[in-house]
Symmetry: C2
Subunit: 537 residues, 2 copies
């Protein structure tokens, strides 16, 4: 009962973030991006990294030229292309020549496996398509390459014309392909279908791989079903980036296979890099974090319900399917309006704050509820939460500074209608504050109003607290809270500030984005001064 499938002898992880991932809406990789991602994927212990389609665009061509200098420890680099054009000799096809010139030992070529696609998209005959597969594989082997064949639309093709789909992969195998990858290109498969079709294809006798998209919401499960049915290579992308609904998320699959099936596909150390690699690739791809992403998402081990919180106090396995540390993630207790005094106390312990006083903890819980109802979010803004607790504890110490007033001005001059790109806007801010009995008045300028306010605030504090020169604003996030209200909506601003490799997060809320930013900004400096430099409040 619930027996785990047998570990394939030669399980291969194949990453296509750099090619298929780049097809996603909103993703545009530079050559430098691709080089960095290749190193990150390699550090996970993935066996193959598909780098792109040389010759199809300048970025991919340059990537392979520069990738020769990468020192990959685990992965082999793969160049991607397609079978030769219909009616042309493989040796005369410039696309295949570019593929060879990429200089990789391994290449992957896509071949049509669905009869309808051969006639309607390639506009050729079923026989010519088979010849294209055979001759392309033979040509590339003759050029000294190891060849993987992606059988495009294999599953839809199999459901429409199984004999032809099987003939395509049989011909690829007989021509000498190392692996034939069955692709669910349109992503519409379901796991039980996948298992049946992979089993029915195993008789070909070549190593089978699988390449899934997530259009039915089953990409990971489809890949697992294929592995259970005998496939030994699985393709995917970091964070599931890809065309339409995306590719199979390799981060989820690696964790499932390693932690659920118990197959040692990567080392425990490599598995422990999973969260960091996922988030760093998201930064490079400039994609928003997927909070709910399995294993690696910021919410993956975050607990809000009071029921869960109290149980987790007893045994942290009670509401978690794996140990977060195994994948480099952390458990988080969320402070929210649903949270009671117990959560506030657990959170306090994690931050090293004394909230053992039940009356104070109760007052803090009430204040959090009230402020969250107005739009504040303390779930991520630990620094603002700590400042709130310190204020409510009423230590009676002096604040490091008090703001008297501020203002900021943004102006743009002549903007010619025929060349709006050459206009320039500039912002200037004035900040007046009191600190250690002195009155400071400074002006700052910047390429935006918040930048100008930050400069002015930093300058005004520097004479009294020179340490603020080390504070650096490392991230600034704006969230519109009431969508549908246009520019007068309430906004929430979160600011990350870094000093000597420690980063803290503060939050501000208001109908005016500048006002909300100012609140988060002053909290960032207040926290930095009180916490980092031990200045009592």
């Amino acid at each position: 009962m619930t027996v785990d499938p047998v570990h394939p002898e030669n399980l291969q992880l194949y990453d296509t973030t750099l090619r298929d991932g780049g097809q996603q809406e909103g993703i545009q990789f530079s050559v430098a991006d691709k080089l960095k991602i290749a190193e990150l994927v390699d550090s996970l212990g993935v066996g193959f990294i598909e780098g792109g389609w040389p010759g199809s665009n300048p970025v991919d061509t340059e990537f392979f030229a520069r990738a020769a200098s990468l020192e990959l420890r685990n992965a082999r680099l793969v160049a991607f292309g397609s079978t030769r054009r219909a009616g042309r000799r493989a040796g005369d096809d410039p696309q295949l020549r570019a593929l060879c010139e990429a200089g990789t030992e391994w290449v992957c070529v896509v071949a049509k496996a669905h009869d309808m696609h051969v006639t309607q998209a390639l506009h050729t005959t079923l026989d010519e398509n088979l010849a294209m597969v055979t001759e392309t594989v033979e040509y590339l082997i003759g050029e000294g390459k190891k060849v993987i064949v992606d059988a495009e639309h294999y599953f839809d093709g199999f459901r429409s014309n199984p004999a032809y789909a099987l003939e395509v992969i049989r011909d690829a195998a007989e021509a000498g392909a190392q692996t034939v990858v069955l692709c669910d290109t349109n992503g519409g498969m379901l796991p039980s279908w996948m298992g049946d079709i992979v089993s029915s294809s195993a008789s070909i006798g070549v190593e089978l791989g699988v390449h899934c998209h997530n259009d039915s919401g089953c990409a990971v499960a489809n890949s697992l079903a294929a592995l259970e049915a005998g496939a030994s290579q699985v393709q995917g992308t970091i964070n599931g980036y890809g065309e339409r609904t995306g590719n199979m998320d390799l981060t989820t699959l690696i964790a499932d296979v390693q932690l659920k099936y118990g197959w040692p596909v990567v080392t425990p150390e490599q598995l422990g890099m999973l969260t960091q690699v996922s988030r760093t690739v998201a930064e490079i791809a400039n994609q928003p974090a997927q909070l709910r992403q399995p294993f690696v998402g910021e919410s993956a081990f975050a607990h809000k319900a009071g029921l869960h919180a109290s149980a987790l106090k007893v045994n942290d396995g009670l509401y978690q399917h794996v140990q977060p540390a195994a994948v480099g993630n952390d458990m988080r207790m969320l402070i929210s309006e649903m949270a009671g005094r117990a959560n506030i106390q657990i959170k306090g312990e994690q931050l090293g704050l004394d909230l053992s006083d039940r009356e104070l903890a109760g007052r803090v819980a009430d204040a959090v509820k009230q402020r969250e109802a107005r739009g504040y979010a303390y779930e991520a803004a630990d620094a603002s939460f700590e400042l709130l607790v310190r204020r409510m504890a009423g230590t009676g110490d002096d604040a490091p500074f008090e703001v008297i007033s501020w203002r900021v001005f943004t102006e743009q001059g002549v903007m010619p209608a025929d060349d709006p790109d050459h206009s320039v806007a500039a912002s200037e801010a004035t900040v007046k504050l009191a600190a250690k009995g002195t009155r400071q008045l400074y002006v700052g300028e910047g390429n935006g109003p918040v930048n100008a306010l930050d400069q002015a605030l930093s300058r005004a504090l520097s004479p009294v607290y020179p340490q603020v020169r080390q504070f650096e604003l490392t991230d600034y996030r704006v969230r519109i809270l009431d969508r549908g209200h246009g520019t007068d909506a309430t906004v929430r601003v979160q600011i990350d500030t870094t000093c000597e490799e420690i980063t803290w997060t503060t939050v501000g809320v208001g109908e005016n984005v500048i006002e909300a930013s100012w609140e988060a900004l002053t909290e960032a400096y207040l926290f930095g001064l009180t916490k980092r430099y031990g200045l009592a409040r």
Copy 2:
């Protein structure tokens, strides 16, 4: 081969967006939110809507009081609670009293099915837990309720102690529960395990349901496996909202079951509401759109690769697993740096622009690539794309207006350190422009700088173009493009403007958020005047 499973006679869709969905990080439903969501879920043809846990918090209690006035056409409302407390009579448990007082015909109670949770979290004996199940179900039936039992941690419990897990659901069935729901509370199951355990539990002889979380990335596939193994009720939430990685996404499951298995779980008209319901619930929940969400995401039928674009010209089934219109979604061609002239021409056709001139289409494609490299995104901003094409086509017409200069000022007065909540910031903007040979100088004020600029621009245009008074800014989105650069990062602003139920989107980019906003704002007015009112440029 690849036979679809048999449609359960009595398949029930059960939505818990209002309870389990509200456990998600960042979601806080008001009573009004819950009432609106209940009506939306009902419009999808879902059979059960779990409204919350009466008595556990004021929102849920008030929801049930006000829900009596809802006119649900398809769904039965369910109140959620738990089995009686250990060592207490069911009739004396205030939680069960609150459950009955919610006034619903149907109630759902959660019971522990995992031996370890009984002893470690409930701190009671295995026998007392069984008595709690039986007596709670009998008490609720005595109060005239129809009872569903959620067997919490059922799958982990079954793997640890199958006899006890089965005993819990057998007792629930014998006490008279209508349905016993097997819950993968920690979300760690895989589809093959699910199928085995549901099959092994079917002998109990009561209708089985399934409740999955997505911690292994398999919530939808696990639910499908349970249906294939004999379950007849499936629980989930709209957009998969829920604790940690979220619950099973009901929007994906409905489309999979209806379009892949071919089971008529909802009407075609209800299925056609899927995208709209998903997006409206996201707005109410104030959650960012999940672009890659299967079926209903904005990218779900978006195509970027040139290969796909040319094939889709021939047959739109070639790269799409279902027809987007079936779920109320649309196919989209993405304009991006990967796009060539062909994509630009298809996009032009969709917008009714004449781009048949190959030279013009090539120049537009180049301009798009250049501008996207600087941060513009035309994928969503059709209005800015159209303005770009019109400018490049060089029709020689006059622009409706030309901006001479603008400036905006934000100021905050005394902000006492002990009460920062009572300070007020205000913004004031000045706009100078030329329109139809007149010179207009106006000032506007607002609760933020962009709001103030919008007011000033609208006032300055109104004397010449009174129709701008009907333009309404309905959404304003800010995206930081270079994370890690703090407040001097490049930002992209997108603005939605609505006039007489038509909405258009414009984009602006710059290092200064005000400048980027101003660009998107002026484009919004330019597009509205040229397109909506046919004013030539």
